[in-house]
Each structure stands twice: as C-alpha cells, then as structure tokens.
Symmetry: C2
Amino acid sequence: MAKAKRVLKWQRDPEGMRIRILEAAKQEFSAHGLAGARVDRIAANAGANKRMLYYHVGNKEDLYLEVLEGAYEQIRAEERTLDLEHLDPPKAIERLIDFTWNYFIRNPEFLALLNTENLAKARHLKRSTKVKSMHSPFVEMIRTVVNRGVESGDFRVAVDPVQLYISIAGLCFFYLSNSATLSVIFGRDLLKKEARDERLAHMVALVLAALTGKSTADFGKPKPAGLRAAAIQPV
Amino acid sequence: MAKAKRVLKWQRDPEGMRIRILEAAKQEFSAHGLAGARVDRIAANAGANKRMLYYHVGNKEDLYLEVLEGAYEQIRAEERTLDLEHLDPPKAIERLIDFTWNYFIRNPEFLALLNTENLAKARHLKRSTKVKSMHSPFVEMIRTVVNRGVESGDFRVAVDPVQLYISIAGLCFFYLSNSATLSVIFGRDLLKKEARDERLAHMVALVLAALTGKSTADFGKPKPAGLRAAAIQPV
DNA sequence: CGAGAAATTAACCCGTTGGATAAATACTGT
DNA sequence: ACAGTATTTATCCAACGGGTTAATTTCTCG
C-alpha cells in the first residue's frame, strides 16, 4: 500500500553535524586565522545553522581549540605508525624527513593552524589539557635511531634528538608555509612538482650528509643559472 | 613685554606622525595579524586620531602593505652590509647563519608579518611593485661563497644557493616563529639564553658539517637526559 | 599680518559579527 | 499514539569596527 512518505524538512544527525562543523571550522580557521574566521561562513560550509555551532561545540574560541586539538591528534596518530626502529639509521632518518614533508604537503591547514596559534602565543594550547597529555614517543623514537646510528658507525655524532626534530620540521615547514612569499620573491613557483622533489632531495641530502659525513649525489645539483636569473631574492 | 605665549593644543609634525603611525601599525599587525589588527588601537598607540591613518597612509590594507614593504626594506638594507666576500667560505656561512638568526631574534615582528602575509597567500606582496623591484644581490652573494668554497676544497659539493638560503632561513625561522607552541609541547622554554645559544651552535654545526664533511664539536652534545625527560613531544 | 593650505580633531555613519532567544520539528521510549 | 526530549530553524540585537564628513587649529609665505 503506497503509504505517502511524508517529506521531512530536515533530519537529525548529531554526529555527522559535529564532524561537518569541525571540518568546516578547520578550513575556515586555516584559511583566515582566528580573527579572520567568520562564524557564519563555518555554519554555511557545514550546511548548518549558525546556532548549531554553539549547540554542538561552543563559542568561536572553543571551536578553534577543538580544531587545533584535532589537528594535533591526527598527526600524532600518523606518527605512531612510522616505526623507525626496524630501519637502519640513515634509512630511518630519510623516512622521517619524507614523512614530515609529505604530511605537511597533505595537510596545509595544519601549518596554517600552527602559525595562527603561535600568533596567539600558544594561548589556547596552554589551556588545553588534551594536547599536553598527548605524550608522543616520537622524540624517544628519534633518540633511539640516533643512538643506533652512532653505535653502528653510520653517524659520526650523537645529535640532540629535539634539535634534530626541530631542524627537520623547520626545513619542511618554512618552505611550505612561506611558499607564497618565497615564490613571489624568487620569481618561481616553489610548489610545482619538480620544485617539491628537488626540495625533498636537498633536505635529505643536507641532513644525512651532516649526520653521516658522506655526501650524496643530490645534495648539489644547482639548477642551470638561466632558470633563476630573473628575480633572485631571499625571504 | 610679557607676551603671553599662547599654549597650542597641538603641533604639526607630518613626518613624525607618519613614522609613529607606521611603527604602531607594525606592532599591531605583527601582534594580531591583518584581520585581528584594530585601526583604533594603531591610532591610539601612535598618539593620533584615527583619521590620521587615512590622511597619511590610506586604508587598513594600504597601511599593512606599507608596513610589510618597510620590513622587507629594512632586512635588505642590513643584508647589504654583510659582505661575505672577504671571509673564507666556512666563516662566511657561519656569519650568514649568525646574522639571520640574530636578525630574526631582534625583529620578531618581521616573522609575524611574513606569516600573516603567507596566510593571505602573498596577495599584497604580489601587488607591491616596490618589493618586486628590490632586487637583492643576496643569493648571488651566497652563490659566490659556495663556488669559492668548492674551488678551495672547503666544501665538498656545490649546493644550490637558493636551497641553501631557504634551509638556513627555515632552520632559524621555524624555531623562533613557532617557539610558543614548541615550548608548550616540549615543556621547556626555547627562548631562554642557553636554549638560543644551543640552537645557534646546532644550526651552524649542521650546515657546516653538511657542506664541509667535517663535523664540529658542538654538533652533538645532547643535554643530560634528566633535563628533558618530562614532556617530550614534537611539533 | 592675513589668507589660503596643511594638519589635526571631533563626531558620526552604517554594515558586520558574534552571540542570544524563542519557536518549530524530528525522534525515542513507553 | 503521544509525551518528552534532542536537534534544528528562524529572528533578533547590541557592540564593534572600518571608514567618512565636517569643523578646527596651526603653519607658511607673499
């Protein structure tokens, strides 16, 4: 019997709604920063009413913090799958660089969120119990790799793993996070495939050369001068 | 004849006013970003009326661009005084790192402005004829140093000077620009004197080791484990 | 010294924005 | 089927913030 199904004006979907809100908020905050983000735009992009944000999450800052915490959770989760313990030390470092680089490329919002949070002097992160309790074994993982490398003779010196981690992250982060201004200033597109490949090779070569003392082929390889003769300028 | 000098309500000082406005704007934009900056606050901190901003410079975005251009001009000017040509290659690289590092420390607003501009995808910089015409001989300077180093046998490989510059800038920039979040996450103050000194030594050692193939004493030197046992976590 | 230009102040305008209130609609268990 | 609750929509609003208008004061130069 054709029971005329009544057409609903809307359906309930609290979990889905929450996810859509947080995803929209992530895009908005990473695209415009905390102050530049618009609550109405988040709602619209989440396919929701503005009131929903306050119902499901809280005010703008709560929303922002939740997004930030989510971003940290995500990278921590992926880090845990890295297990560098089974690789020989140089391979492990290469893999670490490769992972960091590609994670940043795949998640440009993460970079923007970190910049936004640093503009705020980590004010929200300090408040977050969640992030502080997310102890990652990452640095210890690196320490182990370095120690193994020294013992095996692959590495010449026992570098501080925290410094090494910051260096690797910095090499990747700065290039990608500042690619817009750098591209203008150097007059070339730093995000195109070839440029990205070249950068990865450079970083791996730089770090491994410093650790092992052996230079790799890719380390040098300056591009033909003509290609970057035009606008050459730093920062 | 006691001519009762009339007390003025205010004095004219267009140049001074302009300077104070731009300085206040630099502080405001670097502290809050473009969207977070408040025109009234800039006026107040410049000891001026809000109308003055529009009279002397233009609207908020004009003001921002002028600040950004000024920041670039300033670092370019200091770069030009570096002349690395007279130093032997390893010393020249060390000096370059040292300069970059200390410039960033002395001018934290510069870092924040760059981040803000990158959040805007370099939208303003692209519009700026000024910055694009500020051709700096900086990269050529680095190229010369590298070439000299290769010829003298100090350096093992001819690294691309653009990559090298981005790497050096990145090592410095990321550490300082992200010091707030990193300090929370690693649970230690990355900006205190000892930490800064340690970082500089690490960067110099890392880059020189990669270039020369000789490791320096400072490269390793991990801190006693107890000092950083507590909260160890990356990014 | 006085008129016109330059610099500065004071007050206002109006769209935007974060947030709040209240009403409507869809579910759920009984 | 229906009462009660969870979820969503529809409006509203007060503060804020960038920008403007108009009047006021100081300076300059003939």
